[in-house]
Symmetry: D3
């Protein structure tokens, strides 16, 4: 009998909790709707926790001062705060993230489909830039030091890299509880399955073997 109850609860979580995720970054119609993360492994979003059970810890998280692991080919790390970590963010339309860079580490070209972003450098020297949309494709970029701020408008491709010899890091504020991220290299050259190499060769005006090299690497 209990197995059935658990099964049903799982089904409920599967079909119901998803729905909160489907609501948008809009003004909520209550003070807050803390994510109910009980079923976090099986669902894709969260219903509201009973307000009576909400505690200060639902709005609290520690550890953003800790650098991420940059021992990877990019020499960089990006940690975004999710609703699982900070359930109080549910419905509030904002989140933050931290990026760390080894010397000359790169945060490769990417964009956030659902959020503009303000980055604030907390350590080191960082080149940050974004590219305007077609047909201008202008690159706007700056060299940033500690305390400098740079804005990446929603949906535009941007990147950063550490241009100093020491470590570098920034904190980012993003105007969505779930900004999403599309890594351009992964999307175009590393999708599953891959986009046909002859199609990409024609799209990028290069030989197919150039595309093959990119597809092998991403």
């Amino acid at each position: 009998m209990e197995a059935i109850i658990l099964l049903l609860l799982a089904l409920i979580s599967l079909t119901c909790s998803i729905i909160a995720f489907a609501t948008s970054d809009q003004i909520p119609i209550q003070d807050f709707c803390v994510a109910d993360v009980k079923y976090s492994e099986t669902v894709y979003g969260y219903a509201c926790k009973d307000p009576k059970l909400v505690i200060a810890d639902d709005f609290y998280l520690s550890g953003t001062e800790l650098a991420g692991n940059t021992s990877n080919p990019f020499g960089s790390s990006a940690k975004r705060i999710s609703l699982t970590q900070l359930p109080g963010l549910n419905t509030l339309g904002i989140t933050i993230a931290r990026a760390d860079f080894a010397p000359w580490g790169v945060n490769p070209p990417h964009y956030h489909p659902r959020a503009s972003e303000i980055i604030t450098v907390v350590e080191g020297t960082i080149e940050a830039g974004f590219i305007t949309s077609n047909p201008e494709n202008r690159l706007l970029k700056k060299i940033l030091v500690k305390g400098d701020v740079f804005v990446n408008p929603r949906g535009l491709v941007h990147y950063q890299r550490n241009v100093g010899d020491g470590n570098a890091a920034f904190i980012a504020a993003l105007a969505s509880q779930n900004p999403g991220v599309v890594m351009v290299g992964n999307a175009v050259f590393g999708s599953d399955p891959t986009i046909s190499s002859d199609l990409l060769a024609k799209a990028f005006h290069v030989d197919e073997n150039v595309i093959h090299k990119l597809q092998e690497a991403n």
Copy 2:
């Protein structure tokens, strides 16, 4: 004196008309706000035309049955309806476009930062696909024939190509009056100025000469 008036009107159009463009794809608070396109060459958006002067032609456009010119390296053409052509679209949150393809023509990977899209094939056989966001990067694709419909969610990278021996074409409906377009190749490899090739080499895990080939071609 009249010159000054014209100058002032130009300045007014420069500083004021822009503002309508700044309003968002939301429910307007009037029935319609036909774009006043008198100053179309110098401004980036449009104020409302006097409702008394609005005519049926403001909501009318001909020519969408005509194929675009596909004599270019992509073998494709994309024509989007702008407010200048169809001023009645102002504030209504929707537009359409037409794409044409020579045999094996390609509409290269791109995305629309402000609109989901439904394409409807009107001629030929077209492969259409989009890639989900990080970290999944799944490619979802279909082969489409006349009358087939495919959906590209807002902000995700997508492409199409003609996989038949004749011409091909589709009509697209887009959920914004100004969806915007970011051509991934142009943004990453063809920006002005270019992104440093060593940065891109590290970001895409390839030799710098691979990046150079892409930068020369885009």
Copy 3:
């Protein structure tokens, strides 16, 4: 036992899945939320399908090139794409429709409470018009041929009719996943129960027997 599970699943679908339908045509907070149409006959909206189970077919539909059946008193047919047919449209704020007309067929006065509309004629010659709101009540209308486009602003009464001797058809793009439709004749003269005929006689400044003829016919 299984009966109880089915009952509970039905109840879950009844109380939960409805909710996705209650979310609005806004920017979603995920890339997509494909409608879970398992319970489509008993519910009025859809939760998100598990992203891992999403396939390209969720974003695909065939058959829009096929004419609808116009053998009815209106001599016209309107087919709107629903979430049941194209579950990938869920949360994306757009849909399309197809209308067909026998010679001199009429799409009677109606409006969409939740969407502006762009129609594109694909066959024949069509008169299209909409009426501005009170107190102007201006009729803006055009004769359209193949490739012509006409815009109906959200919430305004509009109609079309085939003014040629052959068949006619258009494809419509609508700026909502569920635009809704109010057929003016059905709402005013054909509601269940009917509005009192003496009330309508006073409202329309005609004798009650005129209203009776309209009520009998709608």
Copy 4:
């Protein structure tokens, strides 16, 4: 010289002030934006008045306790509060209205394209109803007395009539600063120019002479 300045100011008001009207019923990004009604006769919307010049009277209006004139064929009157009367409403997404009824007076079938409505009866006995959208076309109606409340959802056709022997009145709250109103009879049978009577005859399944009677009366 002053004449030119006035002309220019008029032009400014014509091209600029309209724009505030084009913003939507959304959360504003300031506390208030009192409508600047200096140019109220020539424009269709209002820019923000200088906050320093804003006074309490901008948020104040008297006279809603006064009955409107019901000496007309409908035996009813509807007074909506406009921004010209109450400029403080600008950007706040709400307005109110007052309707009065002579005995058996009728507020004919109409709808508000941009607002749901709550009516509160302050005098007399009123029948109020609305019709759900196609294909159900259900009429939901109630008889209301003083203090009773009835809700008309956004965009649905509704009506009221006085079903008592004395006067009747209600106050309406509407969820938009400019709800708009489409009077169904005027839109369909009284537009300028009129919709072809043969088209309407086919649309409403009645003889053309029935349509002629309605067109002559509306």
Copy 5:
């Protein structure tokens, strides 16, 4: 067995129905979504009732002409219409309220985080005012008599009091289905647990014993 079903239904209501509450005051994507109030005592929001079961009573409420009980230290009473009382308001972005005042009764300083408000005096003489945001902190106030209207912009602190010798009352229209209310005195001096009195003393520039008096009273 029935116990389990009831338990499961309770759980469903706990995790699911909440979600409708999490949707925002936006344009819904259906005509209406009447709140399903079956589980009203255990949940914090409502899913949509089956449209087939919706009746006119879902949109109806009586009793707003009745004065509330003002026998309390404030000498005032505020009754807001909730979804439990008027389930048809769900998703429609509007509600109303009634306030009553004994002679010299006070509706203490408060604000609505999610709605602008229009008050209409129906009895007596009322002083109404709101304070603009920092750093101006201007008080805009008026004396209102029957039929007078005053607007309180969203999120600003406002108050009213009866400045006449008889009773007074107003009806308020609010631009949200759930405007929320923060009573400034209760929030600052009467929270559970209380804010440290030394902190408040420093914040308000007064001796701690002044704060103690306020904390004891609120």
Copy 6:
């Protein structure tokens, strides 16, 4: 002549530029709309700068690592980034701020009518709390150290104070380009003109001389 042109430009800026400020924190319909701050001293918001003239510096600001001046009765300082400082934020729906605290300094009870907030402690030890809305009025609070994060939901009263012996500081991310701030003490006890002390005495259940002390101090 030039004087007139300047006068007219000033008038244009006064009546027009305001309007961009009136648009809401929604998805813009262009990639960005950099604020045109030429007229910053006389206007209350900004039109879009010509995109061709936009430069990287429009999205850049330095100095957020510098502590504000805390030599004041509160022992605290709050610096919010305005559009004048960082014009690229216009239309993007986000901003950041920095607060500094002398030992035991207090950021007094206040709220932001248009934004939720995430604070990240960068130095010292801070007590942060917010109070839920009426009727619960629960205080949720935490002691935060470097790297700790705390969320203040939109529109709820919150405060912070330095509970350590050294300086303290945090960076805040806010989900609006213009969150606004209402300082509760200033609004209630320090408005211009003041709210009647007898009214406040009744509202807060204390003697009028308690109110007088608060009014003198704020």
